[in-house]
């Protein structure tokens, strides 16, 4: 029976290793190997016996998938469970798998909306506003906007998960993240307005009428095509590019 506890260094190491959560992403186990790799510092701490440690590692290579930033919360929570298990508490492999599965899907539900559907496009819009004015630091601003949250949560998430356990995504945190998604959505809509204004009147000089008409046509086409998943925006953009080349030839 082990009485060992996870150190701050172990948690930091798990946060760092979480960066490789998707290094071997595959259709069968998705983030399974990456999860075991990120959890290894905790298992090294709790299971000095190599055979038991390998058994636990093998269990953790099973299927797992969630939004990669918020995975840190699940990592901390499961490390806490493994600590109890190693100390002899009645926590079996099935209980750990259940917690992983429940946390994975609920973190993915909020994480996909927060990171992929909101924070990443908002950060991109901030960068584009500067880049449209020819500023090199648009890219840096975009990167910083995203990463103060992404990297912060990746490291702090392990701490939170470890402290709060399987209830880490309880009502208060979920409500705060939902508020953030709503606020970022509104900010994003305002940023798009600002970008359209910047594209129409760069530096206060209105663009030619043909440019303004083409931008308006693009916006209308985009609104119409956004109703359907297929063809994708890139496929539409490729078609538009070929049509414009044809138009350039005919004019």
């Amino acid at each position: 029976m082990s009485e060992k506890r996870l150190t701050r260094g172990d948690r930091l190491s798990m946060g760092l290793r979480a960066a490789l959560l998707q290094a071997t992403w595959n259709y069968e186990r998705q983030q399974g190997l990456g999860w075991a790799w990120a959890l290894k510092p905790a298992l090294d701490r709790f299971y000095p016996d190599a055979e038991r440690r390998r058994e636990r590692l093998t269990e953790h290579t099973a299927y797992f998938n969630t939004q990669p930033t918020l995975a840190s919360l699940a990592l901390g929570a499961v490390a806490g469970l493994e600590e109890q298990r190693a100390a002899g508490a009645p926590v079996d492999a099935a209980a750990v798998a259940r917690v992983k599965s429940a946390l994975g899907s609920s973190l993915a539900a909020i994480g996909d909306r927060l990171f992929w559907l909101t924070l990443r496009p908002v950060a991109a819009c901030v960068g584009v506003v500067f880049a449209l004015n020819g500023r090199w630091f648009g890219a840096l601003t975009m990167w910083a906007c995203y990463n103060w949250f992404h990297l912060g949560l990746r490291f702090a998430g392990v701490e939170w998960g470890y402290r709060e356990g399987p209830e880490v995504l309880g009502t208060p945190l979920r409500a705060r993240l939902e508020d953030l998604v709503r606020g970022l959505g509104a900010l994003g809509a305002a940023l798009i307005g600002l970008i359209v204004a910047t594209v129409l009147v760069p530096g206060g000089n209105p663009r030619p009428m043909v440019f303004q008409a083409a931008l308006a046509a693009g916006l209308v086409l985009g609104m119409l095509t956004a109703q359907r998943a297929r063809p994708s925006p890139t496929e539409w953009a490729l078609g538009i590019g070929l049509l414009c080349i044809a138009a350039g030839w005919m004019r």
């Binding site: 490789l20 998707q22 290094a23 992403w25 595959n26 186990r29 190997l33 790799w37 590692l57 290579t61 559907l117 990443r120 496009p121 950060a123 991109a124 819009c125 960068g127 584009v128 880049a131 449209l132 020819g134 090199w136 648009g138 890219a139 990463n147 992404h150 959505g185 509104a186 809509a189 305002a190 798009i192 307005g193 359209v196 204004a197 910047t198 129409l200 009147v201 530096g203 663009r207 083409a214 931008l215 308006a216 693009g218 916006l219 086409l221 985009g222 609104m223 095509t225 956004a226 998943a229 994708s232 925006p233 890139t234 953009a237 490729l238 538009i240 590019g241 414009c244 080349i245 350039g248």
Partner: protein
């Protein structure tokens, strides 16, 4: 030229790593890679023009659910790299616009062609995963680190190779077109650039607004306020 090309290929590998296997810090986004390449090639304005178009399209491409999205990590590097490589051999302003058009198109084609390659990598990773589990069962704990390292190396190598092949093909295949048809291509860029930006922005706006009237109103107010501020500020 060779050192710049080499830097472009390596950036393709780094972007491929950042996109999914390592850290996901947005270093792989087209605006970031285009800015880096603009500094490397000494032509920031062209890099930003191509980068903005590809970034807006990339931001409206979402990695959610089972769908494998277009690979704008490599697409962004190929697009900016091809545009900068073409423009470095053509001195005139019209050829700048022609290069931007061909670069942006090359970037989109690369993003689409990257999808089957991503799927191939993920299938290779399945084999890696099975090997790792069997090695762990035989007592080789180091198999986990080896599998992770192999996944990272595979992704980096695929990114470098795809970037090198597509930038090479674009520079070889499109050089003549950009040289002899730069006027027509520049005209096409004048039409395609606003259409692409409008298309991508509308997709993003649709995702942000989600049929909420207040958000649509925020868009309208920001558009009007931005337009007025720019017009009045320039007087």
């Amino acid at each position: 030229m060779n050192a710049r090309l080499l830097a472009t290929f390596l950036l393709g590998g780094i972007a491929a790593l950042d996109a999914t296997p390592v850290a996901q810090t947005l270093l792989s986004q087209p605006l970031v890679t285009a800015t880096i390449l603009g500094a490397v090639w000494g032509n920031l304005p062209l890099a930003l023009e191509v980068g903005v178009v590809l970034q807006i399209l990339a931001a409206s491409t979402l990695p959610v659910g089972a769908r494998t999205p277009e690979d704008y990590a490599v697409g962004g590097v190929v697009g900016a790299g091809a545009a900068l490589g073409l423009a470095s051999q053509l001195p005139f302003e019209v050829s700048h616009n022609a290069s931007a058009l061909l670069g942006a198109l090359a970037g989109m084609v690369a993003a689409v062609l990257g999808v089957p390659l991503l799927k191939w990598q993920r299938r290779r990773n399945e084999g890696l995963s099975r090997w790792c589990e069997s090695a762990l069962g035989q007592g080789q704990e180091s198999a986990l680190a080896a599998a992770q390292a192999a996944g990272v190396v595979l992704s980096f190598a695929t990114g470098v190779c795809l970037t090198a092949v597509l930038v090479g093909l674009a520079l070889r295949g499109l050089q003549g077109l950009a040289t002899h048809e730069s006027l027509r291509l520049a005209r096409a860029w004048g039409l395609a650039q606003p259409l692409w930006i409008g298309l991508g922005l509308a997709q993003l706006l649709h995702a942000f607004v989600q049929r909420r009237l207040t958000r649509a109103a925020l868009f309208g107010v920001a558009l009007l306020a931005g337009w007025l501020a720019l017009m009045v500020g320039s007087q």
